[in-house]
Structures are given as structure tokens and as C-alpha cells.
């Protein structure tokens, strides 16, 4: 029998439970930042799926924005429920990725990266110019209900935190199991040798398409969650190309060695940015740039490589 529950699944679950307990002791603003981190971490997790295939996207704000706007629309038009809004975001991101995937699965390298950016900027333009979509002001998102239960402000944030934490755990385990599957292992095959994969009997383009849809769904989830957390959707903070850059930053910061690394990266990103903004509000971008530089120079495989090194040291 193949064991589905391996060291990574146990580690992720233990980390989520510990973090969930620790969060009860943390101030509200830390939980607020952590919830945003889970939203960004989910998008970076989608990037990890592509990254393992040798593909980088500079345009995943596209799915983030679609997820956010889909959640906002569902709240306005249908139902104000966190689960339904999240599902709408995931569906929106997934459908967009499915449609674009027919074109993008044929491209590799810089063309794949920049075509994604091009599509995200097209969306940004549409959102910014369209009055019905709130133009540059965007739309407000009210506090969501949970299965019809309306909570007050503080309780909503707490509920959203645990919703984000448990969702992040589910997605991380899901992606981990996917990467252990035959389809997931095609990441290596596509990255290393598409010709061999074709002559083993599977389409490299289809493998990329599937991975792209998964990353779109995760992007949509991240956007929907962010919309509910910050209570606002707008083109500049959801679809602009610098937002895509943040997701790439997080993926580099965390590393792609483990599915949990993207969430570590997202938490670190938010922590560094918040600290830099508070202590050096005029040069915070300089600190972020310096951090990226340091990571690339000293930890090219991201923060996760410190965990990997620790394990190697223990093993030896």
C-alpha cells in the first residue's frame, strides 16, 4: 500500500495546529497580517507548481484579481457567504486559466512569463477603465457571513484567520500529493525533456495546461480571501504588475523545495514589509530590494533551504 500520509503531510498539519494555537495569543493585527499572508502564499503555491515545471509567471495578479472581483460580485449579486465567495474566486481563477491555458501551454521561458504579465495588464486596464466595475476606486466588500452566521468585526477577522489557515493547509497537502502523483511528476518531465515525455505517450502541453489551471485556482482563492480580509477590491492593489512581482518575490523568498515554503515566504514577506514600512517609511522599497538581493545571493533556494540544511546536518 502506498502511504499518502508522509513526513511532509504530518509536518504541515503539525505546523498548522501549532500556529493555530499560537495565534490565540497573538494580537489582532498580527493575525490580520497572517491572514493576508495565507492569501498571498496560496498564489505563490500556484507559482511553485509552475516553477517546478520550469515556468515562471510574471502575471499571476490576473488570477488574484479575478478571484477578488468574483468574490465581490457574488457577495453583491448572490450570497454573502465566505465559502461561496471563495468558491466563486477559485472557479473564476480556474476558468480564466483554463481558457488562457490553450494558448499559454505552447510557450516556455520568457514568453510564458511575459504573456502572463500582458494578460494581467489587459485585465488591469479593463478594471481601471470600466465604471461598472468601480473603475480605479474598485468596490467595497462587506464582512462575510459563515454559513449564514453574521459575526462582529473582531470575530470575523478571527474566523477568516482560521478559515485561511485551514484552507492553506488543505491546499498545501493537496499540492504536495499532486506533486507525488504521476501527473505531478510530469513537472520534472516537462522541465527536463519534453521530447522524451511525448515519446513516453503524454502531451507536455496538456501537462502544462493542467498545472496552469491548478495555479489559476490557487490564485483565485488568494484573491477571494484577500477581498474578504481587506474589504476592498481595486485594480491597483489586485491586478497591477507589481502585485505579480510580489508573488514571485514570495516564491523566491520561501523557495520551492517544499509546499509549506511558500507560506513561510509569504509570512516573512509581510513581516519584513510591515517592519520596513513602520521603521523606514521613506525607504521601505530599498529594504525589500535589499532583502531580495540577500536571498538570491546567500539563500538561492529560499528560506526553506535553511530547513533542508538543518535536516542534512542532523542526518550526517
Amino acid at each position: 500500500m502506498t502511504r499518502l500520509i508522509d513526513r511532509t503531510v504530518i509536518g504541515l498539519t503539525a505546523a498548522a495546529v501549532l500556529f493555530g494555537l499560537l495565534a490565540l495569543l497573538l494580537p489582532d493585527w498580527v493575525r490580520f497580517i497572517a491572514t493576508q499572508s495565507f492569501a498571498r502564499g496560496a498564489v505563490a503555491l500556484g507559482l511553485l507548481v509552475l516553477w517546478r515545471t520550469g515556468l515562471v509567471s510574471f502575471g499571476h495578479a490576473l488570477f488574484f484579481a479575478i478571484g477578488a472581483y468574483a468574490a465581490a460580485f457574488v457577495q453583491r449579486a448572490l450570497v454573502n457567504d465566505a465559502f461561496v465567495m471563495t468558491l466563486a474566486g477559485m472557479l473564476g481563477g480556474g476558468l480564466m486559466a483554463f481558457a488562457l491555458g490553450f494558448l499559454l501551454c505552447r510557450y516556455r521561458g520568457i514568453f510564458f512569463a511575459l504573456l502572463n504579465m500582458a494578460f494581467s495588464m489587459v485585465l488591469w486596464g479593463l478594471l481601471a477603465k470600466n465604471e461598472a466595475l468601480g473603475s480605479t476606486d474598485g468596490m467595497g466588500v462587506a464582512s462575510p457571513e459563515f454559513f449564514g452566521v453574521e459575526l462582529d468585526g473582531g470575530a470575523t477577522h478571527l474566523a477568516l484567520f482560521y478559515f485561511a489557515l485551514s484552507s492553506a493547509l488543505v491546499f498545501a497537502i493537496g499540492v504536495h500529493l499532486y506533486l507525488r502523483s504521476t501527473l505531478g511528476s510530469m513537472s520534472t518531465a516537462v522541465r527536463e525533456n519534453e521530447i522524451r515525455l511525448e515519446y513516453l505517450g503524454y502531451s507536455a502541453a496538456r501537462a502544462v495546461h493542467v498545472k496552469y489551471v491548478i495555479s489559476g485556482v490557487l490564485g483565485g482563492f488568494g484573491g477571494a480571501l484577500m477581498a474578504m480580509v481587506v474589504g476592498q477590491v481595486d485594480p491597483d492593489s489586485m491586478a497591477y504588475w507589481t502585485i505579480s512581482g510580489e508573488f514571485v518575490f514570495i516564491a523566491i523568498l520561501g523557495g520551492t523545495g517544499n509546499v509549506g515554503a511558500t507560506f513561510i515566504g509569504a509570512l516573512a514577506f509581510e513581516a519584513i514589509r510591515s517592519a520596513a514600512f513602520q521603521w523606514a517609511p521613506t525607504v521601505w522599497q530599498l529594504i525589500m530590494g535589499g532583502t531580495l538581493l540577500a536571498i538570491i545571493m546567500f539563500l538561492p533556494n529560499g528560506l526553506w533551504s535553511m530547513v533542508a540544511r538543518l535536516r542534512e546536518r542532523r542526518a550526517s
Binding site: 507525488r180 520534472t188 511525448e198 515519446y199
Partner: protein, 265 residues
């Protein structure tokens, strides 16, 4: 025996250049066919057309009585034609074991089954058996990019054979392999293919390999087959001597005639 592969009037043009023309061939079940010819004679173009890498400009290709014209490489592989390459096509940063594991996973799974865990105990057993069959078990945990050339070739062919093809097309299986190793490696390959009862067509420049392992020769010259005959007959054919193997080879081999192990599946 019935024809596994039937090719009629196959041609390939690249603009004004004719890479292949008037190719008519039938290959019977479990035959071992050698394809010889100078560089640019059309050998690889022929294999590329049959395996779907290049679309022919004209002609018909039937595999097991069914036209495979216009099918993509993966569809042709699924139908039962596998191939190896002149430069071994493996997953360079993965271990030999993982290369084979991916090959088994892709060959064995379809649709939702692709979402099942790749590394199962039963699949690992099949991988180990395949590695043993091709005598590369000792390299199991070695990264493919650091393998010796001969082992990489064996890995390439072992991966191509995972789908249990009816026909395998090998593009220069001994290219880049030392003279000392070539017969050992070919013995392993041909032994495994014989055991699998696979029909074999391989491109080869080394006439010693052709003489030893092949029962029939297709000689290519300027995109056309100039000789299709049993090995001994083909290698004595005046046109083959002149345009493909050269007279030097025969002068060198005159004293050895009849000593080599004869071909046969």
C-alpha cells in the same frame, strides 16, 4: 508473418530539398531490420516520419493495418511504436530510478489514474526488474546527467520499452560508445528486445553491428532506399558498397567473412 509496419510512397521535402522519396517498406512481426546510409541519406527522416516527429509530404504509413498518418508522437507511442534517439533523451537531473519510475507512471496511467501516487511498491518492483533487464541496476541512484554514455543509451531504450511496444525504432544505439563496449551493450539491448518479442528497426553506421544483429538491411541513399535485402546480400550489393559502406570495409572484412555471429531474431 503479417506486416507490423507498411510504408507506401513516403516522401518528405523541405522546400526544394528532397529528404526522402519513394520509400516503400513492409516490416514483419519480430523482424530485426537495420537502416544504413551516409549522413543525410534520409534514415532519421524516415524514422521521424514514422514516429510522428515530422509530417510526410506524401505517402501512407500503416501500423498493424491502421493508418497512423497525421498522428502525434504520443498517439503513435500509445499505439505501440516506441523510439530511442541518437542523443539519449532522459530526464537529466533525475536519478536512473526516478527516470524509469516516471516512464512507468506515464505508460501505465490514463485519465484520473494519473492523479494516483507515482511511487508505489509494485511499480518500484517493476522499475527494478526493468533496470535489471538492461543491466543498469548498479546505477539506480545515479543522476542521469552523470551516467556514462553507454548506460545513458541503455536507460533511454529501457524507458522507451516500458510501454511494451510492438515496434521499436532505435536511432544509432551505439553512437558515442567505445569499441570495447559496443557489443556488450548491443547484446544487452537485443537480448531484452528479443525477450519482449519486439520488432526492431535500428539505424546504424557500424557495419560490424549490422552484420552481427540484423537479419535485413534497408540501405538509404539521397532519400531513397537503394537496397532492401537480407544482410549478407545487402552488404555485397554493388550500389550499397559504392554509396553507403564503401569498398574499404569489404577489403578489411574479406578475411573475416563468415566468422561473425549471424543475425536473427
Amino acid at each position: 508473418m503479417s506486416a507490423v509496419l507498411a510504408v507506401r510512397d513516403l516522401a518528405k521535402n523541405f522546400g526544394a530539398v528532397t529528404a526522402a522519396a519513394n520509400i516503400n517498406v513492409e516490416i514483419a512481426e519480430q523482424e530485426v531490420v537495420g537502416v544504413i546510409g551516409a549522413n543525410g541519406a534520409g534514415k532519421t527522416t524516415f524514422v521521424n516520419m514514422v514516429t510522428g516527429y515530422l509530417p510526410p509530404s506524401a505517402g501512407e504509413i500503416d501500423f498493424l493495418g491502421r493508418s497512423i498518418l497525421g498522428l502525434r508522437p504520443r498517439a503513435i507511442t500509445r499505439l505501440g511504436i516506441s523510439r530511442s534517439f541518437q542523443v539519449a533523451q532522459v530526464f537529466a537531473s533525475e536519478t536512473v530510478f526516478d527516470n524509469m519510475l516516471i516512464a512507468f507512471g506515464v505508460a501505465e496511467m490514463r485519465g484520473p489514474g494519473l492523479l494516483r501516487i507515482l511511487h508505489t511498491e509494485s511499480r518500484a518492483r517493476r522499475v527494478a526488474e526493468q533496470l535489471e533487464r538492461y543491466r543498469i541496476s548498479e546505477y539506480r541512484d545515479v543522476i542521469a546527467s552523470s551516467l556514462p554514455q553507454g548506460v545513458r543509451k541503455l536507460l533511454d531504450i529501457a524507458m522507451a520499452m516500458v510501454s511494451k511496444p510492438r515496434l521499436i525504432m532505435l536511432d544509432e544505439p551505439t553512437s558515442g560508445i567505445s569499441i570495447e563496449e559496443k557489443f556488450d551493450i548491443m547484446d544487452i539491448i537485443m537480448g531484452a528486445l528479443r525477450e519482449a518479442r519486439t520488432t526492431v528497426l535500428f539505424i546504424e553506421h557500424d557495419m560490424e553491428i549490422v552484420e552481427r544483429y540484423v537479419s535485413r538491411v534497408l540501405a538509404f541513399y539521397q532519400g531513397e532506399i537503394i537496397c532492401d535485402a537480407p544482410t549478407a546480400e545487402a552488404l555485397k550489393d554493388p550500389k550499397v558498397k559504392e554509396f553507403v559502406i564503401g569498398k574499404e570495409y569489404h577489403r578489411g572484412r574479406a578475411g573475416d567473412e563468415g566468422k561473425g555471429e549471424k543475425a536473427g531474431a
